[in-house]
């Protein structure tokens, strides 16, 4: 079996790109071996691709729980360490507890969602990557792997599907 090669097919629009995806699927390229790179988010069903999995919301929920416990510690742990009677209020007040716990829960949720984006997307990434600046100018790219000895067949198929260019791509510094 020959070595795999990575090709980058450039499309002017979403419509031919989805045709290209379908062609690759018909030619036996698995969904794991291709990726669509675009300048705007495109629904996976438009492209005929399986939904991308994200852990951002789960990481965010974990942060929310962590934040909630931090809030509970601040409002109830600190008076335990330094009891202070104020205006006849209880040392462990529930109304103030709701305020502080709410703020810390939301901070945890959003802070960890932000971190989750970094973790799940592998950000920051300053190593060389397979990319072309034309993507941010509106073109849609289809990045996929195929056997070297069959690359001409793939190039022809994608050009028939509407690709402007199909060429081997090397990782470069962004």
């Amino acid at each position: 079996m020959s070595e795999p090669i990575t090709l980058l097919a450039m499309f002017e629009d979403i419509e031919p790109a989805s045709e290209g995806v379908e062609k690759l699927q018909q030619m036996g390229v698995t969904d794991d071996d291709m990726n669509v790179i675009s300048g705007i988010p495109v629904k996976n069903t438009i492209l005929g691709r399986p939904a991308a999995i994200t852990y951002v919301s789960r990481i965010g929920m974990f942060g929310a729980i962590l934040g909630m416990f931090l809030g509970i510690f601040l409002i109830y742990g600190i008076p335990y360490l330094y009891p202070l009677l104020v205006g006849g209020q209880p040392i462990y007040p529930i109304p103030q507890g709701i305020i502080i716990t709410f703020e810390m829960t939301m901070l945890g949720l959003m802070g960890f969602s932000f971190i989750g984006l970094f973790v799940d997307s592998g950000f920051p990434s300053y190593t060389p990557q397979k990319y072309t600046p034309e993507i941010s100018d509106g073109k849609v790219a289809l990045l996929f792997s195929c056997p070297v000895n069959e690359q001409e067949k793939f190039i022809d198929a994608l050009k028939n599907a509407g690709a402007v260019t199909v060429a081997p791509v090397e990782a470069r510094h962004l």
């Binding site: 990726n35 305020i99 709410f102 932000f114 997307s121 990434s125």
Partner: protein, 479 residues
Amino acid sequence: MASYAKPLARQKHAEEHEEDPRQHLMHDPLPRGQMNAMVMESMRETGPIFWIITAVLAAFVVFALGYEWYVLIMQGQGVAGVTRPDYWGVFLVNTVFWIGISHAGTFISAILRVLKVESRRPFTRAAELMTTFGLVQAGLSIFMHLGRVWLTYWMFPIPNQRTIWPDFHSPLMWDLMAITTYLLCSTMYLFLPLIPDLAMARDRTQGGWLKVFYKTLALGFRGTEGEWKNLTTAMNIFAFAIIPVMFSVHTIVSWDFAMATRPGWNSTVFGPYFVIGALHSGMAAVAIVLFLLRSTMKHYKYFIRPEHFNTIGMLMLLVSMAWAYFYFNDYIVPWYGGDIWDKLFQEYAEEGPKWYLWYTMLICNIAVPWLILWNRKWRETPWLLALAGILINVGMYLERYIIIPVGVTINRMPFTWRQYEPRIEIPMTVGTFAFFLLLYMLASRLIPLIPVWEVQEGQEAHLIRKIGKAEISTLSEME
């Protein structure tokens, strides 16, 4: 049998109101590369006037927030106008004012995103920047009010040198937690949709420190399916979660006052009244910023159109009505209740030495928006909307002035009553405005203020469809 039909409108009148959907940004698309080029060009083509204004602002910031603050710290709060009973003066007015301004970014960006209001797309970032830069001014103002800023760490949840821990029973501590949460979250929320535009700027910058700047902040974003999925998921979480935080922040700011049993402050309606007040000044500030951006930035007339001023104008009118409703609630209950101290406070505000502030506030906050913003043509006139925005902000600043320094003048010990006159507070207040403008001007040269990818996304989703004799705008769900 002859049919009878009552004419619904004169022909000429009907034609006047017929609108071509192509005049809307969403139906007037340009190639993405061209839009990118326009935004980058607007950042790079800077004339000498821009740098002269920047230098003047920077010099004033150094004077007001550097030298004057140094004087305040070295000589103490005595150089300010605060003294018994007015210990809460203009610095706190500024804090509340700037937090109010900061609410517009979240409101515009998060609520309009959640409600899928399409006309938000080109100006969300301009509004989000106001949140972050407004909170910076609010933070500085509260530190000015603190006086001994180096003891700020006493509010951190650690024991200080006297083994005293902070007291979370106090509304001031709730404030610290809420404002910190809001500042951190709104800064992250500003950054998230900026990542694809930073990647665009990285791709269009050749060498130099700017390339390093964009490359670093773009984090290696390419636009793969996984990256978009993660980014849009995070943005959705932020859009929903930051709304209750926004409401909580100004509610808690209002509790700094309402939890005290002072006349004029101890009101159960203060929370929502403050939130609406914040939105009132914030929306008005967005109108001013959009007018300035459209007038000064190259190509922005393509992105920011009369339709956007119309959207902002309608929101301003709606918020103005809501503010009037809450103000009336806050006014009539103590007026009817007959408590002597509440009565004295109201009389002092309306007939006392600062009576003109009260009337100006009502004119600016109610009469001005109601007279200007009911008319669509006027709402779509940028300079007029910006003028209304300036007057509303004058009104909202006066409202905070009446609540805080005028409010603390009238207490239950008449022998302490004294007229508050700001002193060093005046240049320092102007300094916060100068600093806000300076940050905004510098940001306009560094980051794309138009979220180009969001504009393109909207344009891809919009289509003009012919139904019967009319062309109708339709919207598809793209993400």
